[in-house]
């Protein structure tokens, strides 16, 4: 009898249930990290895709910073194989309340110079730097800069520093 009770409510009830599922799904979706599309191509050949980050406050959490190197270009990895080359390094300012526990750089990929065949260790396309941070409750931000040096297969640009500014909400 109870099973048929729902059917007894008619199509109106089923419509309500469907609406509830759709609306509740929407609410759940709006709670997470909001990703932004990668930034438009800049003349510095590296862009930073800022994200609105919401993490648990007061305990170590991982925040990934996404960078993108323009197509046809590369930057040296954090550990280039040649000491004359300039490594990619993220430097963060001391922010009130935000504690950076660790920084993890991705592995580079091999890039062969067309002329003499020298192998470089580089980042191309998207690369992510993982930070382990402890953030306070409420709004704070991670600020700093990514120092890098970009080249294409035939030439290079001078080292530059790209500003990094990540708003973080600790919950």
């Amino acid at each position: 009898m109870q099973g048929s009770g729902f059917r007894a409510q008619g199509p109106g009830f089923r419509l309500l249930a469907l609406l509830a599922v759709l609306l509740c799904g929407g609410v759940a979706k709006s709670q997470g990290i909001v990703g932004l599309p990668a930034a438009s191509t800049g003349k510095g050949h590296v862009t930073f895709a800022a994200e609105v980050v919401e993490v648990a406050a007061g305990k170590p959490v991982v925040v990934e910073l996404r960078f993108h190197v323009d197509e046809g270009f590369h930057v040296n990895s954090h550990t280039p194989k040649d000491d004359l080359l300039i490594p990619t390094v993220l430097k963060l300012e001391d922010a009130a309340g935000v504690k950076v526990v660790g920084v993890e750089y991705p592995k580079g990929s091999a890039f062969k110079l067309p002329g003499n065949g020298q192998i470089l260790d580089v980042y191309q396309g998207e690369f992510r730097v993982r930070l382990q941070v402890v953030v306070p409750k409420g709004q704070s931000s991670l600020k700093g800069g990514l120092r890098y040096q970009a080249c294409d297969s035939a030439a290079c640009f001078p080292p530059r520093t790209l500003t990094v500014d990540v708003p973080i909400t600790g919950k």
């Binding site: 709006s30 800049g42 003349k43 510095g44 080359l85 001078p158």
Partner: protein
Amino acid sequence: MRRVAVAVVMVVAVCLLFWAGWHNLRSRRLAMQQAQQAQVTVQKDSSSDSIPSAITTNLIGKAAPSFTLVDLSGKKVSLADYKGKPVVVNFWATYCGPCQEEMPWFEEFTKKYAAQNLVVLGLNLEDGVTKDAVQKASHRLGVTYPILFADEKVGASYGVGDYLPVTVYVGKDGAVTEQTPGAPSKDEMEAHIRKIAGAM
């Protein structure tokens, strides 16, 4: 009684749904707002240049701009010192992989075209570099031709921006025959050298 209970439940459900919808809308607006704020922080380096502006001045057919610069030993070196000789003026930087690739080729060509009095001048053009770093780089690359410390003024006179290497080929008459941004192939490089050395 049962109908009343069902009606109450449905009213509560509808209220909940409206609340959820409103909450959803507010959350999305807030997220959009935060996203827009975050979007502002997406940084682009607008101070740099791009490949088409790698050489800002066309010098072909014109007299090569004169300069007097200091070499690794502290000695002053002028372009005028090499009057009547074919000269390659190569702008480079220690951080530049393609520069490191082509410099040993220039070294090779100075020997190959020694009979034609070919001169190669390596003009280091980078901010904040130390003499030791330049010395170390040129030593490691096996370069024995003069390495000079260029400044922005000399770079600008040759139309050189941030894009390195840039090579300028100067004939015996002191006129520029070719300007090449980026490292060309070894064959292209030799073709330009043969042209200024009169070894066609």
